[in-house]
Point group: C6
Chain length 239, copies 6
């Protein structure tokens, strides 16, 4: 019996001003993506806006945070005009704060329950902020890889578009802290600080490192974080 292959995956927008225009045709639905950056580059803001894009269109989303409290996440997003308070109230949005130690310990059961949770909640987008905190909980490297491999795999099969955030490696802006997720994901966005030699002002720069099966700009563009979130300046240059 001949199988059916859908050669034209539906595409979605990320909801980041300026960045969506750098991706021709959008990101394939149900992709597993990661945003890599060091502390303060805007990963959380990026993920909030990604979720907001779906909420705004009446879809439902799940935000899992290992770093901040549920309240803090909702407040932050609401301050940035993303109305997470309303979405949380009207049931479109689930914000879950997990303790990374506990998450690591019960990852197997989380992995098996997550697909059901996502389905029953009818979520189209999911955020995990940050996968590095989860990875850090495993000191044994092979164990860490296995767990992260299995976990990202279950996310790929869960029928949801997912954005992970990851700390950057100390040495290389384009490498995640543990050097695994960029290989397991379908798309990689890199946020970085660019510090000029004259020690004046630190700039923020974004590059799309990869999107499987999509054509995208390979330019590095400046962006800013304001109280309306992240805006990428497509017409400007870093220097």
């Amino acid at each position: 019996a001949e199988e059916e292959y859908e050669t034209d995956l539906p595409r979605i927008d990320l909801g980041i001003d300026g960045l969506d225009e750098m991706i021709q045709g959008g990101v394939p639905e149900r992709s597993l993506m990661v945003t890599i950056g060091s502390a303060g580059t805007g990963k959380t803001t990026f993920a909030l806006q990604f979720l907001h894009e779906a909420l705004e269109q009446g879809e439902r989303g799940i935000y899992i945070t290992l770093e901040e409290s549920r309240e803090r996440v909702i407040n932050s997003a609401t301050e940035k005009g993303l109305n997470f308070d309303e979405y949380a109230d009207n049931g479109q949005l689930a914000v879950v704060d997990l303790d990374p130690v506990e998450m690591a310990n019960s990852l197997r059961s989380i992995r098996s329950e997550l697909p059901r949770l996502i389905e029953s909640f009818d979520a189209t987008r999911l955020v995990l902020d940050s996968v590095s905190l989860l990875e850090m909980m495993y000191d044994d490297r092979a164990r860490r890889r296995n767990e992260i491999y299995d976990f990202t795999n279950s996310l790929k099969n869960a029928g949801v578009t997912t954005m992970l955030t990851s700390e950057a490696s100390d040495e290389h802006s384009y490498t995640s802290r543990h050097g695994i997720v960029e290989y397991l994901t379908d798309a990689v966005f890199v946020l970085q600080y660019v510090r000029p030699d004259d020690f004046r002002e630190t700039r923020l720069a974004i590059e799309i490192q990869k999107i499987r099966d999509a054509n995208h700009s390979r330019e590095t563009k400046p962006y800013e974080i304001t109280n309306e979130g992240i805006s990428v300046y497509r017409q400007a240059n870093i220097f």
Copy 2:
């Protein structure tokens, strides 16, 4: 039932001349912050001034030191005109010197008692100088991360604004010695030496690396340490 989210967190000043002007609107109250720098960059002085800002306004503060004796801390601060002797006498200020080995060994109980201590003392600000000495006590990396994660979490929930100090990594001025706290904190200040190629005079430079939910300058500015403490020169440049 609808929940209430406070979208306008009260903001506070750090009490560092010139630096407070680099933060539009101040730092959110109850933030957990860290100052990263190598030996002699002024972390302790920074933390003393941060606490003094509150004491001066009649609030109460706790200074936990793992590096120096209680007497030395009070003397140093008093010499810098911060009157810690008076504040310690009039009961606004508690200076506690802990042995890092003992602190590490009893971190669980410290963690559970700290909130009560903070509440009963009615402290609005707390300093831990330095978190690196605590981190160093754990050789097992996963253990260290778990302990520091839990500890910083309990500080976030203790209803107090906290300043940690942290040694910098040998390799990267913008990375803490153990590479964890900058991700667990709400704000990161980086103090660093800038050594010109001609081997003349070493300069001191400060950058605000991140403040969650706040707009701040991204400039790197020179500062000096005098017998009145740290002053940041907003109008000057490093080179």
Copy 3:
């Protein structure tokens, strides 16, 4: 008794536009090859085109993926006009998605079965995407080397031309992640990002690092990934 040595190995094309012209006389049949590159440099696309070259000529091929699902691989290739859906349907192509953890655990039996599988399927080309995910599963370095040595050896003896893909080391574009496969293979292709100092546009560059017993260009040439796959621009230069 005198033995016979075939001094003129049959040569094949890789199926990558522009690259085949950089290899005088083609790659020796039954070579074991590797393509090294960091995330998004086009390793998977490279491997798909390599397999397609044989399928197009009526030969049979096996694609083993440790990274993506069988469906995703077929869709990706089909979107790029490589008709993997048809080849899978007409039985010329076998796409197998394996879990790297399981593959690592049962590598011994896989190793012993693979030659029979290849023979019975009558495959002339095989892809393993990626060998790094397999290597990662071993934390003990000597164990990893032994396993990979034995595995690549059985591939060399299986009578098939094989393309492995490998992640690049973080430090050195020309080194594979675990630094072994480039020594065990007969040919090494290096895909890399070239990021100019002005932080403008990231370029893609390819170099043939080695082909045992073949004469090849030592130039580094730009390439692009389009929806028709990888094209190497032999006439152009990176800068």
Copy 4:
């Protein structure tokens, strides 16, 4: 009852020509200091002169060496005109050569006896040359930190002004070999080689990296070692 805090610590000179003028007001008495440098930069000479400064004023001092024999230390100092032979004879000076292995093994008892020894000898200054040899004896990093922390702490409480010498890290001139002592001490002096690009003559350069509670120059200045010891050239520049 109100406590008394001495806000004006008595200050002392180091006894290094040119360097004392770089410290406004002198180093606080009873400080724990460290001189960091690689092999041959003059750490031992520095420490000998530091001790001589007190001996000359009729005070008493203790020199603990882990590197050389008692005889060699006295000879070296005497050759440099520091008259250690006479001071050793007249009882002002105690030179003790310890085996670092034994010192490490009995550090607990040494730690408890040292304060009494210092007091009974009535020493005002103490040298340990070098703390790195002691640190090296511990392979377990957490153990090393605990031991060094406790040991430096007992020195701080022993009522003596102490100069440690430490090997520099291979990578960073400003970091001690094991990266601990610069954080546990009140003052850090960095001795380093400056090797010009033309491979001509290696220069010696000194920087005061930190002195808690003291104002000091941040310049890097050339120095020389002659048969009268170290002289810092305040008016000269490295290049």
Copy 5:
């Protein structure tokens, strides 16, 4: 009784065009040598030519390969016009392919049998391609050193001139992968890639790093690999 010392060791040629002229007087017979280079720099070709030089003069040689099959080695050499097929047939040449895992496991017995084997075969030259694959089999570093020390020692005593090949370290072209053989051998040849900044064409360069008791050029010279093997261009320069 007075012992006899032969002060004029017989000297031999390596058989590499252009390189032999860079060594005044040739390499001392019975030397243990190593050729260091990364994948594809021509180490195997170098070793084949070294052996061929002796075969051509009617001497006998042994080629031990840990990387390729016996057939592949003979084919490669024969394709390059080195007639290994004939030499293997007429009994002048023994090509042995060993599994590095097994070689490592039975190194002790190999070590004790090798001298007899060499003597009974009457070989004057021996190749081991590559020693890195053998070294890799030991994860315990002290064990590795001991084994390699003993093994190279038995080669020195076996009355044969030996060429080892070794992978280069990732970091330093002039260092072997495990950093031992260059110290245990009498001569070191370094093959390296030189990649110009403009990302155009990668060049091949050779340097004689050491030959005990021989005068040699210290120039770095370009070389090429053609279907006649390696030729060093003594008159040319890399840039």
Copy 6:
């Protein structure tokens, strides 16, 4: 009773042409010295000449080699005109080749016997070529330090002037392979390759890094190895 201190240590020459003039007044007799350099920089030649200097004056010397055979050492030296064959015959010279594994295993007894051996042989100079091979035999770092510390200490007390040779670290020319001996010795000589950017000719350069209690040049000077040994060109410059 007053002790006697000899403030004017007798001084000796090293026997290296050009280098002795860089040391004002010579090296103190009975010093423990080390020559650091990578493979082929001339450490062995340096040590042979050092020993020859004493033999020539009718003194007696011991040469311990861990790298080469006794015969090879004598031949090499004799070829360089150092007449080791005669000195070995007339009993002025003892050349001992030791297996580093065995030396490491019986270091304790060697340590206790060495002083007697030196005394009974009446040697004034001793060479150990190389201490790195001995250090390598210990994988446990603390153990290695203890052993090397005790061993070098026993050499210092044996009443002999000693020259150790040591491999250089891969990263830093001025650091020994294991980073210990340069701190335990009284004098450090650094031999290094200087490779110009144009990849032409590699030069040899020497620097005196330290000589305790001696005034010496801090220049880096070119040297050459000829069949008469090492000559340092005091009047020339590297570039």
